[in-house]
C-alpha cells in the first residue's frame, strides 16, 4: 500500500511516515511538499491514500482535494494539520476528506483515523 504524504515541512513528513509505521500499517511512502507537487504525484502513481497538510505554499491541501474531485479522481484523502477550526473541518468533509487529524497527534490517533480507512 502506497501513501502520499504532503507537507511543506520535511520534518513533519518524516514524523507522519514514522507514526504510520509505528501504528502498525505496512506502507510505502511517496512525498510531496505542496498540493501542486502532490497533484502530479497522484496522477502518475495512484497512491492508496493521501495524507496532506492544509496550509502549504503554491497549492493548499483543500485546493488539492478540490482539484482532484474536479477531475473525477476518487483517491482517498485526509488532512494532518494544525488547523482545528470547525468551519474548516466542515469544509474538508464536504469536499470529501476522510479524516482531519490535528497536530500534535498521538500514535493512537493515527491508528484511530487510519484503521477504518485502510481496513
Amino acid at each position: 500500500m502506497q501513501i502520499l504524504v504532503v507537507d511543506d515541512s520535511k520534518a513533519m513528513r518524516s514524523i507522519v511516515m514514522r507514526a504510520v509505521r509505528q501504528a502498525g500499517f505496512d506502507a510505502t511512502f511517496v512525498e510531496a511538499s505542496n498540493g501542486a507537487e502532490a497533484l502530479k504525484a497522484i496522477r502518475s502513481s495512484s497512491p492508496a491514500l493521501v495524507m496532506a497538510d492544509w496550509n502549504m505554499p503554491e497549492m493548499t491541501g483543500i485546493e488539492l482535494l478540490q482539484a482532484l474531485r474536479a477531475e473525477g479522481n476518487p483517491v482517498r484523502m485526509g488532512f494532518v494539520t494544525s488547523e482545528s477550526d470547525p468551519a474548516m473541518r466542515d469544509r474538508a468533509f464536504q469536499a470529501g476528506a476522510l479524516f482531519m487529524l490535528t497536530k500534535p497527534f498521538t500514535p493512537d490517533a493515527i491508528k484511530a483515523v487510519l484503521g477504518p480507512v485502510l481496513a
Binding site: 520534518a11 514524523i15 496550509n55 482545528s84 500534535p104
Partner: protein, 162 residues
C-alpha cells in the same frame, strides 16, 4: 479583530498551546512560565507566523538560543541526545513546524475572543523581533524541560490596526 481585544490576555493561551506541544510532540515536560516581558529577548532565533483577521493581524512565534532550537528540533524529530546537530535548513524547517503547530493550538484557544483567524506560513528568523510605532510585542519566557523558550506575540498597538 476588534480594537477591544486585550492582547495581554492572549499570552496565557499561547503558553498553553506551547505547553501542549512541548508535552505531546517535543518530549519537554514540565513547562513553567518564568516571566512575561513587553520587549523581545536577545539574542534569539526561531520561527513566527501571522494570524490574519478581517481587521488587523497578529504574529506568534517560538524562539530560543541555538542550543535551545537544536533541542526543540530534536524533540520534534524524536532524535536522541548525542546525535550530530541539525544543519541550518533542518533547524529552520523544524522550528517553523513547531511554530505552526503552536499557532494552530493558539488559534483554537482564542477563537471566541478574536473571531476567525487565517493562518499564514511560518518564517524562520534570527535576532530580536523589533516593535515599531504600530506594533507591540509581548513575550513569555518559559522553561520547557531543560530548554529556555521565548514565546512571542506581536500585535497592533491600540487604535492602530490594519
Amino acid at each position: 479583530m476588534s480594537g477591544a481585544v486585550d492582547f495581554g490576555a492572549l499570552l496565557p493561551h499561547l503558553e498553553a498551546a506551547f505547553a501542549e506541544v512541548a508535552a505531546r510532540a517535543l518530549g519537554l515536560d514540565p513547562v513553567e512560565v518564568e516571566r512575561r516581558l513587553e520587549e523581545p529577548p536577545t539574542p534569539y532565533q526561531g520561527a513566527y507566523l501571522g494570524l490574519l483577521a478581517a481587521r488587523g493581524a497578529i504574529q506568534v512565534g517560538v524562539a530560543s538560543d541555538e542550543a535551545g532550537c537544536q533541542a526543540l528540533s530534536r524533540g520534534l524529530l524524536g532524535l536522541p541526545e548525542g546525535e550530530p546537530p541539525l544543519c541550518a535548513a533542518e533547524l529552520a524547517d523544524a522550528l517553523c513546524e513547531i511554530a505552526n503547530i503552536v499557532a494552530g493550538g493558539f488559534k483554537g484557544r482564542v477563537r471566541e475572543t478574536t473571531g476567525s483567524l487565517a493562518m499564514g506560513l511560518p518564517v524562520f528568523f534570527r535576532g530580536p523581533a523589533q516593535p515599531t510605532d504600530h506594533t507591540a510585542v509581548r513575550v513569555a519566557v518559559l522553561r520547557a524541560g531543560a530548554v529556555r523558550v521565548a514565546l512571542l506575540l506581536m500585535h497592533p498597538k491600540a487604535g492602530k490596526e490594519g
